[in-house]
């Protein structure tokens, strides 16, 4: 698997600027995260055709935010004078929640969404519980209410210590 697509220091200044621009585009469903935090920007490069190429990957195949994100990226690039940029969709390797940046995980927790924890072990274990700590009171005394939540990337949990329900950003 390729490396996490996070900004790094060895990029050309031009590409670095585009990464910074993309870091201002929020995820429309979890606006506290940028699309860079989410790990869905796969590359930014100057193509042999002289054009700027920006590649995005979807989180889940059916995620309705994918089309919205593409439009938001296009608008941000237009505003920054990159109207000719080529937007690409990359499927391989498939997105994984491991590509969330550490900053993204911290933002999620501060927003009240538990970031991804350890992957589920048993393939048959719908009721196998992954230890997830409450984003409000940090207790591990939590229970899963549903593996599915308000968006494809989230599950629904409840903290039995503080009594609050919360969203959990699933391992995927």
């Amino acid at each position: 698997m390729s490396a996490v697509a996070a900004p790094s220091t060895d990029r050309a200044p031009f590409e670095q600027q585009v990464w910074q621009l993309l870091a201002t585009v929020p995820d429309p469903e979890i606006p506290v995260l940028s699309i860079v935090d989410l790990g869905i920007v796969r590359h930014v490069r100057q193509g042999e055709d002289g054009q700027l190429h920006v590649a995005l990957t979807p989180t889940y195949s059916g995620c309705p935010a994918t089309d919205v994100i593409r439009r938001m990226v296009r608008a941000a690039l237009d505003r920054a004078g990159h109207g000719e940029a080529v937007l690409e969709e990359v499927l391989s390797p498939p997105w994984t929640s491991e590509w969330l940046t550490p900053e993204g995980c911290a933002k999620l927790r501060a927003f009240g969404i538990a970031p991804p924890a350890q992957p589920v072990g048993s393939p048959r274990g719908l009721w196998h519980q992954t230890p997830v700590s409450c984003p409000r009171c940090a207790s591990d005394a939590t229970e899963r209410l549903s593996e599915f939540g308000s968006t494809p990337c989230k599950a629904h949990y409840r903290c039995t210590a503080c009594g609050e329900p919360f969203d959990y950003f699933k391992c995927h």
Partner: protein, 267 residues
């Protein structure tokens, strides 16, 4: 739409018969996901509990997302300018190539779970195999879908076990659903000329080689769920060749109503 370098290692145009088989093969995968996704979406607002309503809707969303990627690719392989929408909404039942199992009605929650579990276990084998084959475009879609299918399976198998190993009533109902739906399973791993042509070309798995792994997984799950595997029967079902049960036409009439009544309509 594509990554660099160019996606499919074998572009269209080599062997017309092989191109057609590839298109049909991808359409079968696409239509199975699309039709099952449409079926699952019928549960929205009717699930036995809010959590399961959400769960089924999430599965439907993934399946329709997979269908979109596959239909787009099938349209390109076909080379007649049909996009995902034209393929989903402007074909009639005999042109749909989904597995007959996918179009079967939802029935009760147990029946929906059995249908889902059977297709999940089939997709696990198919997508796993396709994800390492040399059609890189299809491999990328399969690898993406495989991740999703794994948790679909966790959902369907979890419920299969809970219902099968549950109360007398849940056990009775889910066994009845299994007895009813089992007759559609021979179609899953019985190859026809399209499967064999692609498998010979190294572009699709040999179904007969996947069948034993599937049987093994199914046997383990049924044992965990305390359900009896029904006897195998000869298989007259040919959904993947466009010959469907009476249920598909009704499903399509709902799914296709809006785009056919208001051509070109969008949000």
């Amino acid at each position: 739409m594509s990554t660099t370098p160019a996606p499919a290692i074998l572009p269209r145009g080599g062997d017309p018969a092989l191109d057609e088989a590839r298109c049909r093969y991808v359409l079968r995968l696409a239509d199975t996901s699309l039709v099952l996704g449409q079926r699952l979406s019928e549960w929205i607002g009717h699930g036995p509990a809010l959590e399961e309503d959400l769960g089924l809707a999430n599965l439907a969303l993934d399946l329709i997302g997979q269908a979109r990627l596959l239909l787009t690719y099938a349209g390109e392989l076909e080379g007649r300018g049909r996009d995902e929408d034209a393929l989903a909404f402007l074909r009639d039942a005999p042109e749909f190539l989904n597995l007959t199992l996918a179009e079967q009605p939802n029935g009760d929650f147990g029946q929906t779970i059995v249908r889902q579990w059977l297709i999940d276990t089939w997709q696990l084998e198919i997508y796993q195999a396709l994800s390492v084959l040399p059609d890189t475009r299809l491999a990328a879609i399969a690898a993406k879908a495989l991740r999703e299918t794994r948790y679909h399976y966790r959902f369907s198998c979890g419920w299969l076990v809970r219902l099968g190993d549950g109360t007398e009533e849940s056990q009775r109902r889910v066994q009845r659903a299994l007895d009813d739906l089992w007759r559609f399973t021979p179609e899953l791993f019985t190859p026809d000329d399209v499967d064999e042509r692609l498998s010979l070309a190294g572009l699709a798995p040999a179904l007969r080689e996947l069948a034993p792994q599937w049987s093994l997984r199914v046997a383990e799950d049924l044992a965990a769920a305390r359900l009896q595997r029904p006897p195998d029967r000869p298989h007259p079902w040919q959904g993947k060749r466009g010959v469907h049960s009476e249920h598909l036409g009704h499903l399509l009439s709902v799914m296709q109503h809006l785009p056919r009544t208001y051509p070109g309509a969008h949000w």
